[in-house]
Symmetry: C2
Subunit: 280 residues, 2 copies
């Protein structure tokens, strides 16, 4: 039975009942428009925990453009049906005023990790993410929380924040779910035109090819510009970044080494897609 | 019986035993060198809560000058004796490496409230305070936490942080404890020479007189410069600020109004003293 909480008090009341019964709680924070990638997080939580809470909140402070916030897909009725089918216990779907009442002015930021990649392209984005996740952690106090590897920088930032601030929560990263043609699932994919959708899988193909070239000993300074060119030739309209970095620290690398990963963000018209791939 | 925890694991083990027994927990965060002002916080916690945790941690990230950090008084043996006499249950006294392991890079900041008064004079100070208090709250997960009104800006910032991030903790502000001559108790008072100690009570006297002049209808732009001059004439070597502000928002005011307070910071040689007083 899925119940829905719209206030922090209602959320806490349900959860404290579970706590008294000695049950463990898993949290899956989302912005809704749920797809199979989100549902893989819910399934992982279902396997690990007695109770599963999914939050749906399109977090305004992590958007740096109003049109992007306005255009972000919202489809709660369909989301609820998916969550019921996946035996979610509780949906937390607060209004903006519940999360950010008047006078709100606290920020949680993970400095160095938030400055590169998507953080550099979208000022304030990563601090917006870490702030809302800190709030959700404090509202739910889950035993475990689940995040997709598709937003890998976000996952590293949340892991670092949880460790640095001593949140009593275990962060689990779950592998990216992909379409048959390799495109990483994303709520933003619904915004792609048919022609853009045909180009989109090139993002993952380019990463896959670059990863094998890097593993073969090629250097990033030579290979990455080729990769950018390939994406533009395939029909991407802009490449925000295409970089080789260490997984934990996100430090940039010239050569592949154990624990490194490729990161990419590129535009197809009005839609920005991101992806990443472990190299070694 | 006072026990001492030096690691987060040891702290949590003791507290989780209390939690299982259904006991409430009060936290008094301090930097040690305990005086009657701190002990008033411990006594308030003792009255309200089943268990009392006092933390002693001289927090390096809230000091903006190395000599100030090095010179901050440390006297754990005497502190322990006071805490035992006050029936404290647990002392948490972590080393710097326990609180800030290598790679630490997360900050919790309350923007507007941290920019004025002591925040303007001591860059990074207030974010250092809110970050360490966020950590202590997450380590202890207390029902209530106690802070002195002497550090009034700090109290407002912590209250705002706790509210904004949904910490499940009640913040209690406790009235400033003063010497017979009015000097607010502070760990820094031990650094005053005999001559400086004789001048120090003028700080509170000046606030008291200004408060009655403001209540009498005087304007802050006329009265505050007189107050600064009076402090310099009395022997203070520098006045960092002397201001009239709203209590909750810390917005500056020209005239007294309900919920306003005077704030002062001034130097006696190498020692910086702060104080504040409710006007209306």
């Amino acid at each position: 039975m899925l119940s829905t909480a719209r206030t922090i008090a209602a959320l806490r009341e349900t959860i404290s009942g579970w706590r008294r019964a000695g049950q463990t709680v898993g949290l899956v924070p989302t912005m809704g428009a749920l797809h199979a990638g989100h549902m893989a997080l819910v399934e992982a939580a279902r396997r690990d925990c007695d109770r599963v809470v999914v939050s749906i909140f399109v977090n305004p402070i992590q958007f740096n453009r109003q049109d992007d916030l306005d255009g972000y897909p919202r489809r709660e009725a369909e989301d609820v049906a998916k969550l019921m089918a996946a035996q979610t216990d509780l949906l937390f779907a607060p209004a903006v005023e519940v999360m950010y009442p008047e006078g709100f002015e606290t920020k949680v930021a993970v400095d160095a990790l938030g400055d590169c990649l998507c953080g550099a392209m979208r000022p304030g984005h990563m601090a917006g993410v870490s702030t809302v996740v800190a709030k959700l952690f404090l509202q739910v106090l889950p035993d475990r929380a689940y995040f997709g590897e598709k937003d890998y920088q976000q996952l590293m930032i949340i892991q670092r924040m949880a460790r640095d601030l001593d949140f009593p929560v275990e962060i689990r990263g779950i592998e990216t779910v992909r379409e048959a043609d390799g495109l990483a699932l994303s709520s933003r994919n619904v915004n792609l035109s048919e022609a853009e959708r045909a180009v989109a899988p090139q993002l993952f193909e380019a990463l896959t090819d670059l990863a094998s070239e890097l593993k073969g000993g090629g250097g990033a300074p030579a290979l990455l510009p080729n990769g950018r060119r390939r994406l533009m030739d395939a029909g991407f309209t802009e490449v925000d970044y295409l970089e080789l970095r260490r997984e934990m620290s996100l430090a940039p690398l010239q050569q592949a080494e154990p624990g490194c990963r490729l990161f990419v963000a590129a535009w197809l018209g009005q839609t920005r897609l991101i992806d990443n791939l472990k190299v070694l």
